[in-house]
Each structure stands twice: as C-alpha cells, then as structure tokens.
Symmetry: C2
Subunit: 192 residues, 2 copies
C-alpha cells in the first residue's frame, strides 16, 4: 500500500501536509533475517511494513529467542519502548521475508509531531491502537490455556501462521514448540 494512502486512512491530512510528511520517510528494502535493531542498541527508527512480515524478539540468558511481536503489511514496526523512550532496546527486530519498509527517524517524527496537529493525532491514534492490541495479548496470555491462545491467534492473524516458523509462533504465544506442535495435531482433527 502506498504510504500516503495508508496515512490518510487514519487521519485526513490536507494534500500539502501529506506531501511534506511523506518526504521525511525513506523506502528501504530489507532482507530476511538481517537484524534492523539488535538488543542493547537504541532503536532510532519507526518502520511501516509495505511488504513482508517482521518480528521483534528477545534473547533469553540461555540463548533462546522469544518472539514478542509480529508485524505485517500496513503495521508500524519498532522496538516501541526503545524508540519512544530512547533507551537501549531489549529486543531484536528482523524481517522473516525479504521486505519493503518505510522508515522515519525519531528526530524527524518529533519534528512532524510539533509541526502538524494532525500528525500528533496520528501518533495518538496509533499508540492507542497498539495499546489495545497489547492489552488483548496480555489477557490471552494471562487467562487462557495454550490451546485457546493458539485459536485466538488463528483468528487475529490467520495469514501469519503459514508464513513464519512454528517455533516463533510458539514463543510468541508463551509456550514451547513441542506444545504447539501437539496442539496443531489435535486441532486439525477437531476441525475436520
């Protein structure tokens, strides 16, 4: 989706504002499994996924990767707290397919927030939307069984499931690969 169209779907920017705003974004091609941000670095950019799937993940002491979030077409992608508070990121960021992203730096984004009331509004809407998603995930993790969590995911992200490794999904849902594999086995039986 074109960047300007995407932004305009959220807030109805006047043409001149939109043109200026878009000029601060860069279009980047990013390859599979190449980290955009590593744990410990400050995440300096906010990305918008035009094409591809990405994820953020956390590296446990024992070296295991825990997927924290997936990002698909049309979603903003970043190590949120690091980007907004400008502190070292706990998370790695990478794409799981060769992808096309738009990016903007924190400085430029702040500049646009200050320059356009509409842009500030966009920022507010996006963070409340993100907030809702995180709250939903928290509820899923805190209150539901492993099987229910997987069903929830099938609903929320039906397409992701076939595009990313099972291990990533399992850790995203707070369970082991083995458990997810077993769930899948019986799940398909239930549906047939």
């Amino acid at each position: 989706m074109k960047l300007s169209r995407f932004l305009q779907n959220i807030v109805p920017f006047p043409a001149d504002e939109l043109e200026d705003i878009v000029s601060y974004f860069e279009r980047e091609t990013v390859y599979k499994n190449v980290p955009l941000v590593k744990g410990g670095q400050v995440c300096s950019k906010l990305y918008l996924v035009e094409e591809g799937v990405g994820r953020s993940y956390y590296l446990k002491e024992d070296g295991k990767e825990i997927t924290q979030w997936f990002f698909v077409e049309g979603q903003f992608m970043s190590s949120i707290e690091s980007f907004f508070q400008q502190n070292p990121s706990l998370y790695y960021l990478e794409m799981l397919e060769d992808s096309v992203l738009y990016s903007i730096t924190r400085e430029n984004l702040d500049l646009l927030f200050a320059r356009y009331h509409n842009m500030e509004k966009l920022g507010r809407l996006l963070s409340t939307e993100m907030l809702t998603r995180v709250v939903n995930k928290l509820n899923a993790i805190q209150f539901q069984t492993a099987r229910e969590r997987y069903d929830y995911m099938l609903n929320e992200y039906p397409n992701i499931v076939n595009r990313v490794p099972l291990g990533n999904i399992a850790s995203y849902l707070g369970m082991t690969q083995e458990t997810l594999s077993r769930i899948r086995k019986t799940e398909s039986r239930n549906k047939s």
Copy 2:
C-alpha cells in the same frame, strides 16, 4: 496533586489553555468498592486519581474476579479500550479506598484534543507511557516465574502491596492467592 500542576508536568501548557482545559474536568469523591463502570457498560469517562487506589477487574465465568490493573495517585484510570473505542467494557472499575478523582468525558476530551495541539500531545504521551507499562507487565507475565513476578511488583508498586487485599494482587500477577501467600512466607525469610 492539583490537576493543573499534574498536566503541566507532562506538557508545558500556556496559562490560558490550561485554564480552559481544567474547566472540563470534574472533581468527584468516590467511595470504596462502589463500581465506577460495570462490565458490559461503555466507559464514558477518563479519571485521574488525586487520592486513593483503584483497580480494574474482569469477572470470569465462574464468578472469580481477576484484577487487571491498579491505579494510584497521579495516574489516569479508565477501562482503556472501552473508553477509546467506545465499546462495552470487559472490566469493572472501582476504588479500593474512599477516593478523590478528576474525571472528563470522552466528548469533552475529544473536543480538547481538537482544540489544542498541546492536548493532543498530552494524549499521545500518556498512551505511549501506558503502552510501555502494559508491555512490561506482559513480559513479566509471559517470561517470569510467580516469585519473580511478585518481586517485580514490589519494585514497581512498593506502596500498593500494603494497601490492597492479597487476592487482588495475586490475580493481577496471574497466580492464585494460595501461591502468593506461600511466596510471601519464604520471601520474608529471604530478606531477613
């Protein structure tokens, strides 16, 4: 804390804006255990706690209450998704002590967002802050043991622990009362 001082700590409003903004808030005294919002209702107001502790909780099918969030002095309190998306709330909202709150309706808040760029900014900053807190809790719930979660809470909310019933804290942390009680027992042993 005075409302105007609280707002000004976040964004430096000019005096005239601030005066107008504050005029849209109401000051309310609310008593212990009286629901501000019930599950199923749309949450029409955003509250700021001047004095007291509140919580949001969710009622499971079996009638058990699960505390979702605590709100202390200086924090905004609401059933967030319900307030922002104007859909029926999954959560109940109540104070755990007789309290003093400031409140503003969704309509008035929207009006202020539209009227003042600074106000929009305040909204954005508050939601990113909230977002960070939810992400932190999600990490705690997803990755940590019951004991670690309790320690985390002691750090983040040292004062809440002595002000609210143990059962509320346990469900907030995603464990049973019994487990929390057992943790407390050995915890105090560790610290002595």
